[in-house]
């Protein structure tokens, strides 16, 4: 029997404590992966000076503050991964300049505001992950014609057509927590009235789970005068639900 070997976890690294400004001296840098560090503070404005960046991953890094406008200056950027931080505020207008962006992952931050309509129109963007923030807005039908991977669950109220929701539901069981997706119909189906609860053809895969063990979805018309929001136990249809019961008409 030999002597017991020293075994144990590798001592935890301190990791990087801030995004080093020296990075801005690396003028040829194309790929930068800094994820998993424990940064103090947020994304610096000078990050927009790293013009050759194609791949930027600073996820899981405790970043705070806003997305800097200067990120929009990274015209070669193809992959932007900033998930699992504590970023706040809205998606900057400057992101509309990110014409080479292929993948955007902002999952699990504290971002809010409308998802800008132009985001869905960025020519190369095919992977859009915005889950677990406080975004609102409308998901256009174009994501079906130009298939994209889209993850938006656990946000503020997002809207989309039935077709969009049907398209998204297999990959995005969005009725889990918080305010789920709201079904929008261009026109009310024949024989329906605003606010009426009705079934439609969506094979929902998730649902809000209640203490009694049931799952519920509900739907509403998007019209301003539609106040009928309700919840119903259901197993095969989806829609918009809010926590409050129907206010009726």
């Amino acid at each position: 029997m030999g002597a017991p070997r020293a075994r144990g976890p590798i001592p935890a690294s301190l990791g990087l404590t801030e995004i080093p400004q020296g990075l801005s001296k690396l003028t040829k840098l194309r790929d930068l992966l800094l994820s998993g560090n424990d940064f103090t503070g947020g994304l610096p404005d000078w990050i927009g000076e790293m013009k050759d960046l194609r791949f930027l991953d600073i996820s899981y890094s405790n970043l705070t503050g806003h997305l800097p406008e200067t990120l929009g200056d990274l015209s070669n950027l193809e992959f932007l991964y900033l998930s699992y931080n504590q970023l706040e505020g809205e998606i900057p207008d400057s992101f509309a300049k990110l014409g080479n962006l292929v993948a955007l992952n902002l999952n699990s931050n504290g971002l809010e505001g409308e998802i800008p309509a132009w985001l869905w129109e960025l020519p190369k963007l095919s992977n859009i992950q915005l889950a677990r923030n406080r975004f609102e807005g409308h998901i256009p039908d174009t994501i079906i014609r130009d298939p994209r991977y889209v993850l938006t669950r656990e946000n503020g109220c997002l809207t989309g057509s039935e077709a969009v929701i049907e398209w998204l539901s297999p990959i995005d069981p969005r009725w889990q927590d918080g305010c789920p997706l709201q079904i929008v119909t261009e026109a009310l189906p024949d024989g329906r009235e605003d606010g009426e609860i009705y079934e439609f053809q969506v094979k929902a895969t998730g649902g809000r789970r209640y203490n009694d063990g049931t799952y519920r979805w509900s739907i509403s018309s998007p019209r301003p005068n539609a106040t009928g929001i309700d919840e119903k136990p259901a197993s095969s249809w989806g829609g918009c639900g809010k926590e409050q019961a129907a206010t009726g008409r």
Binding site: R7, S13, L14, T17, L23, L26, L34, G36
Partner: protein, 218 residues
């Protein structure tokens, strides 16, 4: 002192100091300081060398003495068969492997003879090592349960363009000597545990760097 650094001081008896020294036949990379008689430098070739050392004293007229010394540079174990790259690069690989305990226990072929350009994780071009650790997890866990040590001798791979040291993990110091690898285009240090990573300002002085991977625990 790394094994490939060499230093020795010549001494003379009698005569009148100060002496002046010269030496012929030194292995390449070594020089003698004429005033102190100190031979220093980095060893770049193996073999046995006959070195003619001449010392001149300060008398008038000066007296000169010459001796032939034999200097043997032993090839570091594992580089006996190297004809592909400069020996100093082979030594650097052997030393590098010594910092990862499982290279030996797992019988990884680094430093075990044969052509170093065929060793695990090594890619050569034009007679130099240009890539080390090309696979994404090449040296995964080779540091063993207590972690490995990153050996500064790696700095001798001066033509290196790609260095992937992820997942070893290394513990302790990230040697600033790696800042001499000015041709690096890709440097991956993630999933190690260097305790001076926040002071590694030499990283920002690598002019060709295109890819930098510092995922914790970098």
């Amino acid at each position: 002192m790394s094994v490939i650094e060499y230093e020795a001081t010549l001494e003379a008896e009698s005569g009148e100091p100060p002496y002046r020294w010269s030496a012929a036949g030194l292995p390449s990379g070594l020089t003698v300081d004429p005033a102190t008689g100190t031979i220093t430098g980095g060893l770049r070739e193996a073999g046995t060398f006959s070195v003619n050392v001449t010392v001149t004293d300060s008398q008038m007229p000066a007296r000169t003495s010459t001796r032939t010394l034999s200097l043997t540079v032993a090839v570091t174990s594992g580089c006996e068969d190297n004809t592909s790259i400069p020996d100093i690069e082979c030594y650097a690989l052997v030393e590098f492997a010594k910092g990862m305990p499982r290279v030996e226990t797992w019988n990884v072929d680094i430093g075990r003879g044969g052509d170093p350009c065929g060793w695990f994780g090594v890619i050569c071009r034009d007679g130099h090592v240009v890539e080390l650790g090309g696979e994404p997890e090449a040296f995964y866990s080779m540091g063993g349960p207590d972690g490995g040590t990153l050996i500064p001798a790696l700095r001798h791979l001066t033509e290196l363009e790609y260095l992937n040291l992820m997942y070893v993990p290394f513990v302790g110091e990230l040697p600033e000597e790696l800042g001499q690898l000015k041709k690096l285009k890709t440097l991956a240090l993630g999933y190690n545990s260097f305790d001076n990573i926040n002071e590694a300002d030499w990283l920002w002085e690598l002019p060709e760097l295109e890819g930098l991977y510092l995922r914790r625990s970098a």
